[in-house]
């Protein structure tokens, strides 16, 4: 079972990202995926978060308890949810939107300039899709094929190409990071700028 929280602020496509992951896993990877979004005052305007629970069997408890993966696309999301992460958990942050403080917990931190990628491709609004590409590459909880099949059904047709480009950009970056990680493990204990073990 994998518990994921995707968090940021309204308008960043946070919920949509949760739906894309959930749909890819449940429809195309044929596993179970339950997605919940935060409702209520906290869901209006400001903070916004999606919870996705992935499993090989039916998800019984539909909410995230101790997330295995936290994606933070705003400083507020980071501050609110960072402490929830379990040991060995993965934290993915947007390089330009989140400034991590150092904590003692053993987590794996990845930094990706998703918003910058999106801007370079022409629209900030697709930052979440670049993030999804990176997420797919580094977490391995959803297959690339499933994500590629899902995205067309959940983005406006006119923007499909741009979205796929953003996804690929994020995915490629993620692969690079992983490759670097591997190389580092075998070569030197030096940490890359975008990968910390704390």
């Amino acid at each position: 079972m994998t518990e994921i929280r995707f968090a940021g602020f309204g308008g960043q496509g946070i919920i949509r990202s949760g739906i894309i992951i959930g749909k890819a896993v449940s429809i195309f990877d044929e596993k179970f995926a339950t997605m919940n979004q935060s409702f209520g005052p906290e869901a209006r305007g400001g903070a916004c978060s999606a919870q996705i629970v992935l499993s090989d069997e039916q998800v019984l408890y539909p909410y995230v308890t101790v997330p295995d993966i936290l994606v933070a696309m705003s400083q507020e999301a980071y501050t609110t949810y960072e402490s929830e992460l379990g040991e060995g958990g993965i934290l993915i942050i947007d390089a330009d939107l989140v400034r991590p403080r150092s904590t003692g917990a053993k987590i794996r931190l990845y930094t990706v300039p998703a918003t910058r990628f999106a801007e370079e491709l022409g629209n900030r609004i697709i930052a979440n899709v670049a993030m999804l590409g990176f997420f797919t590459a580094v977490t391995g909880v959803v297959s690339l094929e499933a994500m590629k099949k899902t995205i067309p059904s959940l983005v406006p047709p006119g923007f499909l190409e741009m979205n796929l480009k953003a996804f690929d950009r994020g995915y490629a970056y993620g692969q690079d990071v992983l490759a670097g990680e591997k190389a580092e493990k075998t070569k030197s204990p030096l940490k890359r700028r975008n990968y910390h073990v704390r």
């Binding site: 949760g18 739906i19 959930g22 749909k23 449940s26 429809i27 179970f32 995926a33 339950t34 997605m35 919940n36 979004q37 409702f39 209520g40 005052p41 869901a43 998800v59 019984l60 408890y61 539909p62 909410y63």
Partner: protein, 402 residues
């Protein structure tokens, strides 16, 4: 009868419970929706608004919940399968018309996406505290059918079931959802239309002069006609005879209300539906419904790991309640445990049917969230000792850390 393909969105979808409810209804042949927005049921209305024009159905946003259910009853008499949806405060406003639909034997489906109450309560979070209102909320005496799904897929399936039961028994059927299920997004498989079994409306086909709108068939359910078919029938919420004319006598009341009650009670075996797992040889059986039945499974898994012999009886149809089965189980087990998101509603029925033969344990929750499976687990552990038989409904409270 098979479903009309026009309303069936065959395929695998990733939907929340609210959207699945609307799709279930359209698949079941629902062609009229009248409703009034209220969290957390609004998405059902929104889905209908978007889909109705595409499938030859009609959506109207009414001015309030009284109007909503009234319009649904009207549309049902025009021959359309019809539904509305609401939550807490709106459910209260609809109660008068639940009674009208019961009294006039109007098939329809009313979904209540339960949230925290009383009053405005917790509009955006979950609850299961309308269960007794579902059972007894309208004035007067009646029996009703209520189902409770625990996933978007079940919401789709049970909405169809709800329509089928409402047509079969000419009774409003309540779909008791909750916010968690309504807002939870999961895979929903919508089968091909020819795989969906639909209960057609039971139309009277006899000559016009002879039609008696409330003369029942053998199963106590009268066949129906619709407005415009030339039968010139009369429908009233007053106590009425077989012609549908007011007859406010003790005799007529006895005959009519007796039948309204009996058509559900005497057909209960056909209506009642539940699932069981690991009940044979169990010391403890957890009885649960809706989202809680799902969270319970996690607790049961953990309890079984500890070696506790625990089973689950999961209610699909909550009303009418499976009295017979509960009586049997009460004789076999040490304890019956019911977690529900309220301070004890359906557990009252459980206790009644247990007849003092097994310990009856309530795991309450005030609403706003689902149970912590550990709380249910704790109650199962305590219940497995079965020490408090005959003490009425008991509770065990786990000491929380921090």
């Amino acid at each position: 009868m098979k479903a009309d393909p026009k309303g069936v969105l065959t395929g695998s979808h990733y939907l929340d419970g609210d959207h699945a409810c609307a799709e279930g209804a359209l698949a079941a042949g629902c062609r009229f929706f009248g409703g009034y927005p209220i969290t957390p049921s609004t998405e059902v209305a929104e889905r209908f608004a978007q889909r109705c024009p595409l499938v030859g159905a009609i959506f109207i946003q009414m001015e309030d919940e009284l109007a909503s259910l009234a319009s649904v009853i009207g549309a049902s008499w025009s021959g359309l399968k019809s539904m509305t949806v609401t939550s807490g405060p709106g459910f209260s406003l609809m109660m008068e018309h639940v009674g009208l639909a019961v009294m006039t034997e109007t098939p329809l489906v009313l979904a209540d996406v339960q949230r925290g109450g009383p009053s405005t309560g917790l509009p955006t979070t979950t609850g299961q505290a309308d269960m007794m209102q579902a059972r007894w909320g309208s004035h007067g005496d009646y029996e009703i059918i209520a189902l409770s799904p625990n996933s978007p897929q079940e919401t789709f399936d049970f909405t169809i079931k709800a329509f089928n039961l409402s047509e079969k028994y000419r009774v409003p059927v309540l779909l008791m959802m909750d916010e968690c299920v309504g807002h939870m997004t999961e895979k929903v498989i919508i089968p091909a239309a020819e795989e969906i079994e639909i209960e057609p409306r039971r139309f009277y086909k006899g000559p016009q002069g002879k039609y008696l709108p409330f003369k029942p068939d053998k199963d106590m359910v009268p066949p129906m006609v619709k407005v415009g078919d030339g039968y010139r029938f009369h429908i009233t919420g007053l106590t009425h005879d077989e012609r549908g004319y007011p007859d406010m006598t003790v005799d007529c009341q006895e005959k009519l209300v007796r039948r309204l009650v009996d058509k559900i009670r005497k057909n209960a075996d056909d209506i009642i539906e539940f699932e069981e797992d690991g009940v044979e040889g169990a010391d403890v059986v957890v009885v649960a419904y809706g989202i809680t039945s799902r969270v319970t499974l996690r607790a049961i898994k953990l309890a079984r790991k500890e070696g506790i012999k625990v089973g689950i009886l999961r209610l699909i149809v909550v009303w009418p309640f499976p009295e017979k089965r509960i009586r049997e189980l009460a004789r076999q087990v040490k304890a019956l445990v019911m977690p529900e998101i309220n301070y004890g509603q359906v557990v009252l029925e459980l206790d009644r049917c247990a007849c003092g033969q097994a310990e009856v344990v309530l795991v309450p929750h005030g609403g706003g969230w689902v149970h912590d499976p550990d709380d249910i687990l704790y109650a199962i552990r305590q219940a497995a000792r079965g020490k408090r038989v005959g003490e009425g409904i008991v509770e065990y409270h786990r000491k929380k850390r921090g």
